[in-house]
Symmetry: C2
Subunit: 330 residues, 2 copies
């Protein structure tokens, strides 16, 4: 099987490529060719027996999408996006990459379909940013999309296009709304959601972290490992049961900041928790208040998508995957 | 006030222009300039004291949108669309007009906004085709959009763009999901929904009509007069109460074909009803089964949108507006 990852240089793209390389396939189906596309050079995963092709492309340049599908990949995982904050600051770039880029990809596939009957599996990473407050206590699978960011708007449009192109038979597509990824590896960044990861990742290695909101703030989380599992499931499962409702809100863990901190205490002790410094930030508190915090995800659960069930588990996954299985004493 | 109607040669565009011309304004605000845009020449309404400009433009040609807003209309009513059946037959034309055309219009307004702070009221005619079966018995205001046609997909995307451009401050926009317009004046056409009008309009003037579905088929209706009232309300009301949820499912009358026929019998007698010829058509029955039939429309009703409350009333409106107030004996 030939697999194409667009957005392969990002955190999830790298983890997905590494997983596929390590397993030599996805859910038992061998992958012998891997094409990694990103606007910046992606790094080929180590220890992959098949062919790896790395392409550095801007998806919003018309020829780029045709080049992506020139090798007729069987499975395409489309993760490339201008992130939320940047799409909000730069209206034009957000629409150019997140909307036009996605549409150009769909059109390149359609052109190949009309030419030769090509019809790949397309996994589109959408986001809970398609939802905008106010919300019910638990958001059901049939709740409407009223995004409060341009990024969320562009993702919601991508979902609609993907369903229509699937219904028309040009692709076999599925859009998956990922929870916020926690614990995100790397270093603290300026994203408004960054603190959800920072307050766990930094104390786990003895560093201070800033908490800008109160402990009763609730959010929707899944680990990077769960996200990779979601993408692989979406890439391989039979999509017939979805009908033409090709978008799934994925399972996650609904937890408060207080619950995150209690889990940190259980796993790493009081000294780790003592590294969290409270610095209330009105702006971040207001942004976060507009985010969804709890989903039923009934359809996705019934289709076999599984997330973590506790923050203890999310922390353990981080220790295993990012810290070599060992907790450095704080 | 300067008002622009895009899609002004269509049935609703003509009726809206005629209404504005006859009243000299909308809801008490004088209109002194009317620009009528369509792909085919629109006809200037009679007896309008202000200036009428007729432009024949294809909205999907880039310069066309800039030309539409060159006169900086205060209110824009965007009705232009490739209709459902045609957008389904011709994928590319549907996307070119219904998606690209709408986006080019929004982008032309944004360019004028960035240039001079221009920010018009934009009324976008959406459709209940944004919904796809299966449905709850009554569709609430927060039900999700899972269209089963490319037309419905394009309208749902238009709604999302309109909300984002409003939130960004480029327009003051509202999308209104019109019920099926009944009784549609004119002659029987090939649209799958045509029979809902045909079985009333034709017998009212002594002509036969074909009924291709059973009498228990339920659908969602409003008269052309109500549709014009909806557009004028949307063009003038304060949109602040909508927040950034700028799309409204409008009120209508949920009625079965049997209820339509009973109303025809009450208004025009048995002989009129006898002109309805039953010719079951599996294809039409299957298409219609996928359409929504009943909405709560709670928000729109609270905001003062009012539709007819019986088919007797819908038929009386047709007799007044299309038959000069007189029923020709069948």
């Amino acid at each position: 099987m030939h697999m194409l990852i667009i957005g392969a240089a990002g955190m999830l793209g790298r983890k997905l490529a590494a997983r596929v390389a390590a397993d030599g396939g996805i859910e038992g189906r061998p992958v012998n060719a891997l094409t990694l596309v990103d606007a910046v050079p992606a790094i080929a995963p180590a220890a992959f027996a098949g062919t790896v092709t790395v392409e550095t492309l801007d998806l919003s340049v018309p020829a780029a999408a045709a080049r992506c599908v020139a090798g007729r990949p069987d499975v395409i995982v489309h993760l490339a996006a201008i992130v939320s904050g940047e799409a909000e600051r730069d209206f034009e770039t957000g629409y150019r990459i997140n909307l036009d880029g996605t549409r150009l990809l769909l059109e390149a596939i359609r052109a190949a379909h009309l030419d030769s009957g090509y019809r790949p599996r397309l996994v589109f990473s959408s986001s809970i940013a398609v939802f905008g407050a106010p919300f019910p206590e638990v958001i059901g699978d049939e709740f409407f999309t009223t995004p409060l960011t341009s990024y969320g708007t562009q993702k919601a449009i991508g979902e609609l296009l993907l369903s229509d192109y699937s219904r028309r038979g040009f692709i076999d597509g599925i859009a998956i709304r990922l929870p916020t990824i926690c614990i995100r590896p790397g270093t603290p960044n300026a994203a408004a959601s960054g603190f959800f990861s920072n307050i766990l990742r930094e104390p786990l290695v003895g560093r201070q972290a800033v908490l800008p909101v109160s402990e009763d703030v609730r959010h929707w989380h899944a680990s990077p490992r769960a996200a990779v599992r979601f993408m692989i499931r979406a890439a391989t499962m039979d999509l017939t049961p979805l009908g033409w409702r090709r978008t799934l809100s994925l399972p996650g863990l609904s937890a408060t900041v207080g619950e995150q901190i209690a889990a940190l205490r259980r796993v790493a002790g009081d000294r780790a928790v003592g590294l969290i410094r409270r610095e209330p930030d009105e702006t971040i508190a207001r942004i976060v208040a507009g985010w969804p915090a709890n989903f039923a995800a009934t359809r996705a659960r019934a289709l076999g998508f599984v997330a973590e069930s506790s923050f203890d588990e999310i922390i353990r996954v981080h220790i295993e995957d990012e810290l070599g299985g060992n907790l450095v004493a704080a």
